[in-house]
Amino acid sequence: MPLPNGVTLETSDCKYRRGRGEQGISPCAPFLGPCSALRLQRSRTTGSDRSASQARQRSNLDSGLKTHIIRVRTNGLLGADLAPSMDNKKRKPGSNWWYLLLLVPFVGTLWVPFYNSAEPAWAGIPFFYWYQMLMVLVGAGITAIVYFATE
């Protein structure tokens, strides 16, 4: 395959290469075949029409383009790149509510008057100290719960 300057076969996983040009498409687009079309379409989407574009991509994937893209991707230079994003699409709607749990550590640590006291002491350790150490465990537990709930 003829390769443009600066692109070697060894580094052909194009996701590691940064666009040299000002904007727009990845430099490896020309020899990606159909994949480049997808990229073009994607790079036009902006933050404002995010949900619309997500919906469009989903419907594209559902309407038979899916197999096409996967074939191109796995045969092509991007490897198994698309697979994780497909998994993500399966995420249950509403599961993002779990992220609200992450506010607990913020509330628990930023309201200082709540814990700036010696009592109730535990094994001789003032509340101020053991409470904050406990919050480390609570915070870790909450990130773990949210991790598993949104996995």
Binding site: C14, S43, L82, T109, V112, A123, M133, G139, I142
Partner: protein, 540 residues
């Protein structure tokens, strides 16, 4: 991890703050040969490991992605060690307990600070990891130029990152100096400088040859040693003193808790909370944090680490208690440590406590843990700064057609320049300059939050408006710190109330207000370049 040592307290502790600043040396004590030999053996081992790491998960080190990000091949466990070793630095292990020793309860702000970084890591950074992985971005500024298409905003991000990182590297040397002094090498003046130079030549050489793989491999050794040390100290010392109850009973009331605010001021409470929040927001904006996260092999590895990394926070809390234990033991009054405290002030608290409590061979292990703990973050910081310079200054502004090999070669040279700059800084200037610059570094780096963290969600903010906001934030934050004589908290007056708080957070608020107000004004007159990233890239 970011720490504004000696600058953290509310106004009432300002007398203590001054004591924490290091001065020049005086003789410390006799050389502790057994500890020195153990220390040297462990240093020898990690030197070998650093060079051998070049062959670990072999990749072509002539690619910046391989040299500067370890080929993004680190799984959950290695990322845990790498990021843990990266964020919880030697200076942290020396300075946080030192602050507890000198100023008491306020030092514990490090605990809420390191609690709050993990929700942020879990929510924001998988998105950033995905988009950077998809597009091959190596630095935060790479992402910014892809997202906003404005090379000047990216330049601001890159320069801020480099400038904020340099004093941080210098501070790692301060941590190293303290343990070298603790080994008894501080006496002659030139001996400790020689040790420092040797340590840094080792660091520079293995970073140059192995890139990010070296600190990743060494972090595993260092973190295991640190965990052993922290656990041993927190079991043995309370037993020796007679329980935690006795330790806390020996702490005077004004040090045991934060001062309760009085009058129309939120006092130490708002200072404590804003320091924790502001430091947490700033931490993952530092180039070395982003480098550590981007080197993870998968989005899942980043997410899992948000739940696993708090183990380090727990250890940091234990280590902070060491400062209180040192105080309870009256360790600075012991004749053998008087000279050490004269030379290093409160920073000598942990080394003295370890020397006091443990047999020499274990002191060697513990000091090696701290010393190696200086090299790991210093290596990652210099790599991160080198990546930024190479990608976003050299390649973007000077040599657009640089080949991959030229790019990685430039980064290797840059990592040397950055490190030796830090070394010369520490050898020639009083270390309080490094401490003050590091405080400013925290204020500066947080100004990149709109472009990097908010940019991960929306590109609503106009890049030129962000650039103006960034400049306003840098100038006002620097002014606040300078006006308060390089104390981290600034007494913000609103009506009749005073809110002492972390100047980084206040200047960030101003930065955001400016950016939000200017965005609708700038949008009609500036051409908005295309976004290279697509919404799906953030979920991939």
């Amino acid at each position: 991890m970011q720490l504004n040592e000696g600058e953290i307290t509310g106004p009432q502790q300002s007398a203590d703050e001054q004591e924490l600043v290091l001065t020049d040396y005086s003789p410390v004590q006799n050389v502790n040969w057994i500890a020195l030999i153990v220390f040297a053996l462990l240093f020898g081992f990690i030197t070998w490991l650093g060079f051998a790491a070049a062959h670990w998960r072999r990749g072509d080190l002539n690619l910046l992605n391989e040299w500067g990000l370890g080929g993004r091949r680190f799984g959950t466990l290695v990322t845990w060690f790498l990021v843990g070793g990266d964020l919880y630095t030697a200076y942290t292990f020396i300075a946080v307990p030192a602050l507890a020793f000198g100023a008491g309860a306020v030092a514990f702000f490090a605990v809420p600070y390191t609690i709050l970084i993990y929700p942020i890591l879990l929510v924001v950074f998988p998105r950033l990891w995905s988009v950077c992985h998809r597009h091959g971005y190596i630095t935060a500024a790479d992402f910014v130029i892809g997202r906003f298409g404005n090379r000047w905003l990216a330049l601001a991000i890159a320069v801020t990152g480099i400038v904020a990182t340099m004093p941080y590297i210098a501070l790692q040397l301060v941590g190293l100096q303290v343990v070298i002094g603790g080994l008894g090498l501080g006496g002659e003046g030139w001996l400790d400088e020689l040790s420092l130079v040797i340590a840094f030549i080792i660091l520079a050489a293995f970073t140059y040859s192995s890139g990010l793989r070296a600190p990743a491999a060494i972090a595993i050794v260092k973190d295991i040693l640190i965990y052993i040390t922290a656990l041993a100290a927190c079991i043995v010392i309370p037993i020796e003193v007679g329980g935690f109850g006795k330790i806390f009973a020996a702490i005077p009331a004004q040090k045991l808790l934060l001062a309760v605010p009085h009058g129309q001021s939120t006092g130490a409470y708002s200072g404590y909370a804003t320091l924790a929040l502001g430091s947490a927001l700033a931490l993952f904006l530092y180039p070395h944090s982003i480098t550590g996260i981007l080197s993870a092999s998968s989005r899942g590895a980043v997410r899992r680490n948000a739940a696993l990394l708090p183990a380090y926070s727990f250890m940091l809390g234990l280590l902070t208690l060491l400062g209180l234990m040192a105080f309870a033991l009256g360790i600075d009054k012991l004749p053998e440590f008087v000279d050490g405290f004269k030379a290093f002030k409160s920073n000598f608290a942990v080394p003295a406590l370890l020397l006091h409590t443990f047999p020499s061979w274990f002191v060697g292990v513990a000091f090696a843990a701290i010393g190696i703990g200086a090299l790991v973050p210093a290596a990652i910081m210099s790599i991160a700064a080198a990546n930024l310079f190479t990608r976003n200054i050299y390649r973007e502004f000077f040599h657009r057609d640089a080949s991959d090999k030229q790019e990685s070669q430039m980064a290797k040279w840059m990592s040397l320049i950055v490190k030796f700059g830090a070394l010369i800084f520490i050898l020639l200037l009083p270390s309080q300059y490094a401490i003050q610059l590091q405080l400013l570094g925290g204020i500066w780096i947080i100004q990149t939050l709109p472009a990097v963290l908010i940019g991960a969600y929306t590109r609503w903010l106009n890049p030129w408006a962000q650039l103006v906001g960034w400049a306003v934030g840098i100038v006002t934050g620097t002014w606040m710190a300078a006006a308060m004589n390089f104390s981290a908290t600034f007494p913000l007056l609103l009506g009749a109330w005073t809110f002492p708080g972390y100047s980084a957070l206040y200047s960030l608020a101003l930065n955001l207000i400016v950016a939000v107000v200017l965005t609708p004004l700038f949008n009609p007159v500036s051409k908005l370049p295309q976004d290279q990233t697509a919404p799906a890239d953030y979920q991939a």
